[in-house]
C-alpha cells in the first residue's frame, strides 16, 4: 500500500485514494464541531481546547462569517481552513457582483466542496485537511440550511451533524435526541450534543447562533455558562425523576 499513497492522483489497486483517507484522519483529530438546524435558528458549536494563558483568545475565532447570511465552522487543519475560507469569501462577493444576488447556502457549499475535490485530482498538491459545517438562510426563500463538506469533496445537507473528534458519539446522540426545535431550544440541543464529549464550561465552547433577521451572533462566555447551567439542571432533574418511584402505576 505504501506505493499508492504518495501522489494522490493515483488509485490503489483496491480503489482507495489514500491521501484523501489520511486527510479524513486529520479531520478526526481536529476539535469537535456540531451544527443543528432549527425552524428559525441554526446553531454552530465548536470545542475550544484549553487556551494557553498568554494567548489572546479573541484572535482565535473558530466560527466565521462568509457573508451576511452564511457562516462556517470546521474541524481539521486550521491553516488549510484559512485558505478555503478566504476563497469562499471572495466567491460570495464575486457572485453578488456578477448576478446581483447573494449566494444560496447550497451554491457556496458546492463551491467549497468543488475546491476540495480539485485538490484530490491535481498533481503536486495535497487535499485540504478539513471538513466544514456551513449554515445559512437562503436569501429569498428564507429557508434555513446546514451542509457538510469533507476532504474528498462530497457534500450533503443535514438536520444536525458533527465533525472532528468523537463525531460518531455526538452524531449518535443527535440521532437519538433530535427533534424540530426553534430559538433557544436549538441552541440547547447543539450544546447538549457537544457537551457529550467536551468538558462542561463556557471557556471550552464557542457557540454561534444564526437567525434570519440578526445574522450570526457569537455567544459570550457568560451566556454559554448560563445555558450550560440550565442544561446541567435539566439533566439532574431528569436523573432524579428516573430514580424516584412513579406515583401512578
Amino acid at each position: 500500500m505504501a506505493r499508492y499513497d504518495r501522489a494522490i492522483t493515483v488509485f490503489s489497486p483496491d480503489g482507495h485514494l489514500f491521501q484523501v483517507e489520511y486527510a479524513l484522519e486529520a479531520v478526526r483529530k481536529g476539535n469537535a464541531a456540531v451544527g443543528v438546524r432549527g425552524t428559525d435558528t441554526i446553531v454552530l458549536a465548536v470545542e475550544k481546547k484549553s487556551t494557553p494563558k498568554l494567548q489572546d483568545s479573541r484572535s482565535v475565532r473558530k466560527i466565521v462569517n462568509l457573508d451576511n447570511h452564511i457562516a462556517l465552522a470546521c474541524a481539521g487543519l486550521k491553516a488549510d481552513a484559512r485558505v478555503l475560507i478566504n476563497r469562499a469569501r471572495i466567491e460570495c462577493q464575486s457572485h453578488k457582483l456578477t448576478v446581483e444576488d447573494p449566494v444560496t447556502v447550497e451554491y457556496i457549499t458546492r463551491y467549497i466542496a468543488g475546491l476540495q475535490q480539485k485538490y484530490t485530482q491535481s498533481g503536486g498538491v495535497r487535499p485540504f485537511g478539513l471538513s466544514t459545517l456551513i449554515i445559512g438562510f437562503d436569501p429569498y426563500s428564507g429557508v434555513p440550511s446546514l451542509y457538510q463538506t469533507d476532504p474528498s469533496g462530497t457534500f450533503s445537507a443535514w438536520k444536525a451533524n458533527a465533525t472532528g473528534r468523537n463525531s460518531n458519539s455526538i452524531r449518535e446522540f443527535l440521532e437519538k435526541n433530535y427533534k424540530e426545535t426553534s430559538g433557544q431550544e436549538t441552541v440547547k440541543l447543539a450544546m447538549r450534543a457537544l457537551l457529550e464529549v467536551v468538558e462542561s464550561g463556557g471557556k471550552n465552547l464557542e457557540v454561534a447562533v444564526m437567525t434570519k433577521d440578526h445574522g450570526l451572533r457569537q455567544l459570550e462566555e457568560a451566556e454559554i455558562d448560563a445555558i450550560v447551567a440550565e442544561i446541567d439542571a435539566e439533566k439532574a432533574a431528569a436523573e432524579a425523576a428516573k430514580k424516584a418511584p412513579p406515583k401512578e402505576t
Partner: protein, 204 residues
Amino acid sequence: MESVFGLVGKDFAIVVADSSAVHSILLHKTNEDKIMLLDSHKLMGASGETGDRAQFTEYIQKNVALYQFRNGIPLTTAAAANFTRGELATALRKNPYMVNIILAGYDKETGPSLYFIDYIASLHKLDKAAFGYGSYFALSMMDRHYQRDMTVEEAVNLVDKVIMEIRSRLVVAPPNFVIKIVDKDGAREYAWRESIKDAPVIAS
C-alpha cells in the same frame, strides 16, 4: 451634463447627484441613483460613462465588503478612497474607467470626510468638491456660501441654492437630483429634488 457634488458639515457629509440616464439625445429615465452605498457609513457618488460607472462602483463596493469579512472591521474612508484611486490608476494605462467619484464617509475616530477622485486617479481630501458641467456653478456657489461646521439645514440650503443655479443656468440641465447624507448613524438617502416625475404606469 452629469453633475455630482458634495460637502462636509458638522459631523456629517452630503453628496448630491443628478438622476438622469442619458443616451445620446434620449433621456432614458430621470430617477437613476448614481450615489452608491459603499457600506454602512460610506457614500460613493459617481459620474461619467454609464457602463463604467455601474461596473466600477459595484466592484469597489464588493471589495470593501470583502475586506470587512476578511478582517472583521470595516475600511476607513481614507483607506477606501485610496483603494479606489489605486484601482483607477492601475486601469489607467490600459483600459481607463471614465468615472469621476466623490466619496464621502463617516469614521468614528475622525468624523466625516470627503474625497475627490477623478477619472485619471487624482485623489484630494476636500471640504467641498464637484464634477461635471454643473461644477462651474456648484463650486462658485459653494465658494461663496460654504462655511465649516454647517448644520444639516444650512448644508441642504446651500445644496438647494446650487441645484437652483444648475437648473437655471446650464443649457441641458438635469431635471432631478438625489441627496444622500452620511453621519454617525450611517449612510442613507436624504431627499429627492424633482422637477419632473416619471409618469406612473397604468395597470392594464
